[in-house]
Symmetry: C2
Subunit: 117 residues, 2 copies
Amino acid sequence: MLNQTVPLDRVFHALADPSRRGMVERLSRGPASVGELARPLAMSLPAVVQHLAVLEGSGLVRSEKVGRVRVCRIEPAALGTAERWIAERRTLWEHRLDRLGDLLAEDADASHRGRES
Amino acid sequence: MLNQTVPLDRVFHALADPSRRGMVERLSRGPASVGELARPLAMSLPAVVQHLAVLEGSGLVRSEKVGRVRVCRIEPAALGTAERWIAERRTLWEHRLDRLGDLLAEDADASHRGRES
DNA sequence: CATATACTTAAGCATATGCTTAACCAAACC
DNA sequence: GGTTTGGTTAAGCATATGCTTAAGTATATG
């Protein structure tokens, strides 16, 4: 498994901003133009375009130009990468807690039997 | 559902750095001291402590001092928050794709029946 | 053809981030 | 009590981020 650190950096960084998460949220309900993405945000259009560039750079969003409007859509794969990383860490400490639980159980068991070992 | 935007900002920002993810990864296998966390990283101890502060600020990690060594542990809840946010977005566009699939199915159905509507 | 619309590009700026080194503090060791 | 060990605090600095305004381009629309 290749150590793909760069995309994770970009995906998590992209998600670390509430405006960008708002855009992802909007796009998860369906495609939208830059103007539509900008409407709910209290900032200039160029600022929104910069956020969009971060999202595209992370692979979370892709866009194409149709006439004079740019249509943006979500790109599920990148979100999956982030979700998977988190899930893997969770699995690790869950297993660790399992082993800890086993140890405690053994311990309890041992003390019932009169603390051998 | 309260709009808890601040912790998500911090959690995603904390995860956006490979050194910090490395620390989380290490801690997901069990508690560690600051020195242990620093060992694999090519940077000064104060830099590591600053990363640790970011992780603690996000709620991903908590630590306590035992004698002269600081013991750090992972805090599962924060990771869960991030995972949940992503999962919710995924659910949204999956449902959207379902509806889209329904539409296409209806469409195909309609064209079989001779393109009504 | 003229004008409005929907971006796009460029430049500039304030603040935040990610380090560094130097100096300091307190628990453990000899 | 002196020294090593493990961490902490402070200051400084280079670069990155997140905006802004101003000006430009290309596609509709009347």
